[in-house]
Amino acid sequence: MKPETLLYPTPKGLYCEKGGFYIDPVQPVEKALITHGHADHARAGHTYVLATRETLDIMRIRYGDAFCVSSQAAELGARSTIGDVTASFHPAGHVLGSAQIAVEAGGTRIVVSGDYKRRRDPTCQPFELVPCDVFISEATFGLPVFHHPDDRGEIAKLLHSLRQFPERAHLVGAYALGKAQRVIALLREAGYDAPIFIHGALSKLCDYYGSQGIELGDIRPATVDVGDKQSFAGAVIIGPPSALADKWARRFPDPVAIFASGWMLVRQRAKQRGVELPMIISDHCDWPELTETIREIGPGQVWVTHGREEALVRWCELEGIAARPLHLVGYDDEGE
């Protein structure tokens, strides 16, 4: 069948008419398949939700038990029939529980990547290549400027600064789901075994990662009762990015503002946010990884969504791969 009739964009999100479901809908719907737990993809209020067990757990942690009427955990790699189509979930390597969703009918298979990355990440399963006719790729960092450096070098920058400025608190802004835990895990891999202090907004998710066997070491709440302000000198404290410029940051001695994000590659971005030490750590593909992934899958068509759609479409054209932008609305391409 024609792929355009199997899956197409609607104001509520990407819709599969033959299966009667939406993928990552941005408004409440009857039936939703969810790729991963980030708030712009996983919203509360759907009637029925199909997602990986971890994604469902994360939604429950964020929205409470009533986040939907009924839910079902999808086994990675298992095929399930929904209406007239088959759907299957495959690891996307983005955050814990993140999956690509393959939708198949009448001999046509479309893979919705959701958000994905190709780098090794100690906190989630690696991306799996799924052959398909249409690959729907995100393009958050879909510009040739984005070349994310090796994570270890970025962690080394933080460790170096801790030695250089032992009297200052090192305040790392990192998204609460995925990035924060990955930064902690990478610090541990680099041999940093001091306690890491976290903002309250991170505690439930860090606990959850721990319960899933992802070792984060000595994690403590960054509350002032821990001791006086000076006890945070030379400590690593992790909070959501918004907290860096919030009153919360005042409890720490002379903090170094750090932000762990793929956007930190752009100097002006770091400057505008008042970031003193940018750490270029991304949970998305950079440009070479996006283009390499498309080459490896070799799909008949590429549909491009949230991010720099035009550049990736242009690249596909140059490579002789049919491509078009999907123009889905409601996804936050800044969220990294």
């Binding site: 984005f146 920058k157 400025f165 410029a245 752009v266 003193e276 720099r308």
Partner: protein, 549 residues
């Protein structure tokens, strides 16, 4: 190259002075010679490299990249060097790892390259370096290294590194050149202080301390000379052995912008004085304001038109060298006599002598200070008659006694978050005063201030901003400011002038928030007319306003 590139990346994003100094001092301690010398030159702006044209770089990148994709990238980043450093793909056929080419080797290769092979050399270097180093290289060769570090700050870093006084670095500075190997060997403690063969070097200036509350009571007026404190910039003019240099008080060489003064300096010696614009007293023409002087400042070169419209001159305060003889150890009066004799013979339109102000008591001097004879006077200097010329700021020999600042009550209109320690506070404020527009009173912004208040007052200001935000534009918040609801502050400033660039038509010098006027409703804040009336007056007191001289 990598260590240098990392240093640049950190410096650009580090707001605190001390942290910048630490980053530089650590780099200088760890980097090898002559790399660190070239890095120093790059930061201090003493590096001379043949510039590579942006077009050459554009051609290089388009050899490997689709033009449309490059345009998307450039539009997004907005800076050519940064865009190229980011999009550059090293050829995948060459499986060599990224190399770290030394900064010195890069300098050497660039120096040796002829016009014809610069293209190939830059391509080759870009292929060898990683992202940050590519950015540093491109910034160096396009001459666009803007990192927010003054020459003074980098000298402080050198002083910290070698545990020496910054004045020693300042004195040596203009006698040395990249890659500063002798300087670093001395700072490392591995060699003696370098000997200079250039006589017209900078000598650290003598600074005054402000007059404190009870300072004068303990001093005898007979021990001191008073002179006007002129509102220009303090300079040092060295003219020795045919070499002429004009330095700012921190030792920056500003000769390039003042050929008129250098040309007229046909004497031997080193003068300390005030750089001003207008006519000297010896030609009986008026000294012009600081804003006129500003037209001549911060330039590398100057046009003939600027020289005619804004003629510069030096008003002499002191003499450090009479001919080649160092007279800094002599008494103030003796040095002044020598200065007077030197200026007597110098070009009358370019040099005059700062006159002494006769007085017999501190009360008399205070009255003179409140009512100076020229609008370009910003206070009084007190100099002990027997004081030698010593570098730096020690309390006792010289005092500065400034005129009272101007004050207005203004209403806070916008607030922006601060940097560094203050990044969680709204600490940068735009304030306004009332003016009439279409028959209604509206606030017009007249200035910005981000200091003057205490930490406790900042808490109050920050809380007001957070609770009274009307609109947000990126990092800026617009604050509620109505006749009966708003925040009034007393703003103190050193001077005010007409400014066509500002909406209000006026610009203040050194405005700061001197008091929070929580007692005052916004409708009682000052009006623009009050500010306009202050322009050209020697002090801010409206009652004693006189015609400008």
């Amino acid at each position: 190259m990598r260590a240098f590139a990392e240093l640049l990346d950190r410096l650009v994003l580090t707001p605190q002075r001390n942290a910048k100094i630490k980053l530089m001092a650590d780099y200088f301690r760890n980097a090898p010679d002559p790399d660190r010398g070239y890095a120093l030159a790059a930061i201090a702006g003493t590096l001379t490299l043949k510039a590579v044209k942006p077009n050459v770089l554009r051609q290089l990148v388009l050899e490997r990249m689709d033009e449309v994709l490059f345009r998307y990238s450039y539009d997004y980043i907005g800076d050519l060097a940064e865009t190229i450093s980011l999009v550059w793909e090293r050829p995948s056929s060459r499986e060599t790892a990224v190399q770290d080419v030394s900064l010195a080797s890069v300098m050497h290769q660039l120096e040796m390259a002829g016009r014809a092979n610069v293209h190939g050399l830059v391509r080759n270097l870009l292929d060898q370096l990683e992202g940050s180093s590519r950015f540093a290289l491109l910034k160096l060769i396009t001459g666009g290294l803007r990192i927010g570090v003054s020459a003074r700050l980098v000298k402080q870093a050198l002083a910290d590194m070698g545990k020496v006084d910054i004045t020693e670095i300042e004195t040596l500075w203009h006698g040395l050149s990249p890659p500063y190997t002798a300087l670093f060997r001395w700072l490392d403690g591995k060699a003696d202080k370098p000997e200079l063969d250039m006589p017209a070097v900078f000598h650290a200036v003598m600074l005054a301390t402000p007059v404190g509350d009870n300072d004068l009571a303990a001093l005898d007026p007979k021990d001191y000379a008073a002179e006007w404190k002129w509102d220009g910039i303090r300079v040092q003019l060295a003219s020795l052995a045919g070499m002429r240099r004009l330095y700012s008080r921190s030792g920056d060489d500003i000769s390039g912008a003042f050929p008129d003064i250098l040309e007229a300096a046909d004497f031997e010696g080193i003068i300390d004085g005030e750089l001003l614009v207008g006519g000297t007293m010896r030609t009986n023409r008026a000294t012009r304001t600081f804003s006129d002087l500003q037209q001549r400042l911060n330039r590398k070169t100057v046009t003939r038109k600027m020289l005619e419209e804004y003629p510069a001159f030096i008003r002499g305060y002191d003499l450090l060298f009479a001919g080649r003889r160092d007279i800094r150890h002599e008494r103030f009066l003796a040095r002044r006599a020598a200065l007077s004799a030197l200026i007597e013979k110098a070009e009358p339109s370019r040099f005059d002598l700062s006159p002494l102000v006769p007085f017999s008591s501190w009360e008399e001097l205070d009255r003179l200070r409140a009512d100076p004879p020229d609008p370009v006077i910003e206070g009084i200097m007190l100099k002990r008659l027997d004081s030698p010329y010593t570098s730096g700021r020690s309390k006792g020999p010289w005092f500065k006694w400034k005129r009272e600042p101007y004050n207005v009550d203004a209403v806070l209109m916008y607030a922006q978050r601060g940097h560094g320690k203050r990044s969680s506070y709204y600490s940068d404020f735009t304030f306004g005063v009332w003016t009439e527009s279409d028959g209604k009173d509206v606030l017009v912004p007249v200035g910005k201030a981000y200091f003057g208040f205490t930490d406790a007052e900042l808490e109050v200001l920050d809380r007001y901003v957070r609770n009274n935000t009307v609109e947000r534009f990126g990092p800026v918040r617009s604050i509620r400011a109505e006749p009966d609801h708003g925040f009034v502050v007393e703003v103190a400033f050193e001077g005010i002038n007409f400014s066509p660039r500002h909406k209000s038509g006026v610009a203040m010098r050194f405005p700061r928030i001197s008091r929070l006027r929580t007692d005052k409703p916004p409708r009682e804040a000052d009006r623009l007319e009050t500010l306009l009336a202050m322009i050209g007056q020697p002090d801010g007191d409206m009652e004693t306003a006189r015609e400008p001289i």
